[in-house]
Subunit: 215 residues, 2 copies
DNA sequence: CCGGATCCGGGTTGATACTG
DNA sequence: CAGTATCAACCCGGATCCGG
């Protein structure tokens, strides 16, 4: 990206992360941890492959990521965030929070990959029964699996299958999300194509973070 | 900007504010309040005028700004942030904080307009003698004037001249900033071309916010 | 299949000139 | 003052191709 040539924190940050796709690549690495090229491509539907390669080079030069040639089994290059790159989580969180109203209406052509649940789950979901036993949910859609856990009052989220899920939820991620935040109930979710297997009471452990209201 | 077509808060936010110059225009409006076209241009060195006009149209359509035809004295169009646009302050603050290390080395070709002090002053500066009487500083450079005030423990910053400044500081804004955060002392600032008139003790009221360290 | 590189058309940006 | 018009250069998006 061309520099704005302004000695201003905002402008300097945008000189580094203002390019198209750059912050979305950081998002993927925050969600997945160290990732291969093809995993990044899969998580960024729409990105041209040449652009991904360019961005990864630029981001490495800017100190946001490192290229790890870890490779015992197969010589697979791994891309991982540096601490500087990880520090962008606060920026991404701010943008994610600002987006709230924009997420009211999912457009028909939008893609919603299940692993994108991970960051908003950490930001927005709370364990509504902190004293209860730990529960875990596995969300399945489009050949991806994501695990949400509620324990000791906090919610954790990560990609991959759950070991002993209390409930497995299969179906369009957008509907599953609306179910998790309590915008729709189980019946409506099922009518919209979501299949629920296991102890569905476990779903009630999750809810939206109550808005922090002023005094 | 083309949409990413991803149902993800980050992507949706970037669909709206990810275009080049957009967040810098928001910065200007946060600093100055309602502004005229030519004020925005002056605060955004390097922006092509057609691009500014385009962005203002897009931002109005996106609900970030409003065009006010307030016009008693002269028919001057005023651009002002909506509440939705003002809410971007948290995003800009996050990017500004992340920029910290990038501001260590000012490049020779960088511009530093005095009014850009306002946001970092609010973020980074504290009143180091909260029990002291209110003091005000006027910073002058390139035909701009900015006022910083310390009173009751907090720092306020705004564009425009001070009414009764305790001290007037004239010279390159980059040097003045380093003086304010205590990175250089008065002698070095003067050697670098800064002129200081008035009670220079007032300068010591300002200092960088102490880093919030973990337990 | 993985990890890119290459090529091309079109849209966006940047620079400048011009106008009501 | 507040933009519009014009045009070159660059970047992005889409497709294809290539070496392990």
């Amino acid at each position: 990206m061309r520099s704005y040539r302004q000695f201003c924190g905002l402008a300097k940050s945008l000189d580094v992360v203002g390019d198209r796709w750059t912050l979305l690549i950081v998002r993927e690495l925050l969600i997945r941890g160290p990732s291969r090229y093809s995993d990044l491509r899969a998580g960024l539907p729409g990105i041209p492959t040449n652009l991904l390669a360019n961005r990864l080079r630029e981001m490495e030069a800017a100190g946001l990521i490192e290229r790890d040639m870890a490779s015992a089994p197969t010589p697979a290059a791994l891309y991982k965030l540096t601490s500087r790159g990880e520090a962008l989580e606060s920026v991404i969180a701010a943008l994610g929070r600002w987006a709230g109203p924009l997420l009211a209406v999912p457009e028909a052509t939008d893609v919603f990959l299940p692993h994108w649940l991970v960051l908003p789950a950490r930001l927005y979901l709370v364990d509504r029964t902190p004293q209860g036993p730990a529960v875990s949910i596995e969300v399945r859609d489009q050949d991806e699996r994501v695990t949400l856990e509620a324990r000791n009052g906090s919610v954790r989220a990560r990609v991959g299958p759950a070991k002993h899920p209390d409930v497995v939820v299969t179906g369009p991620t957008a509907i599953v999300w609306q179910l998790l935040i309590g915008k729709i109930d189980v019946a409506r979710a099922q009518a919209a194509g979501v299949r629920i297997e296991g102890r569905r009471a476990a779903l009630r452990r999750f809810g939206p973070r109550p808005p922090r209201n002023a005094a």
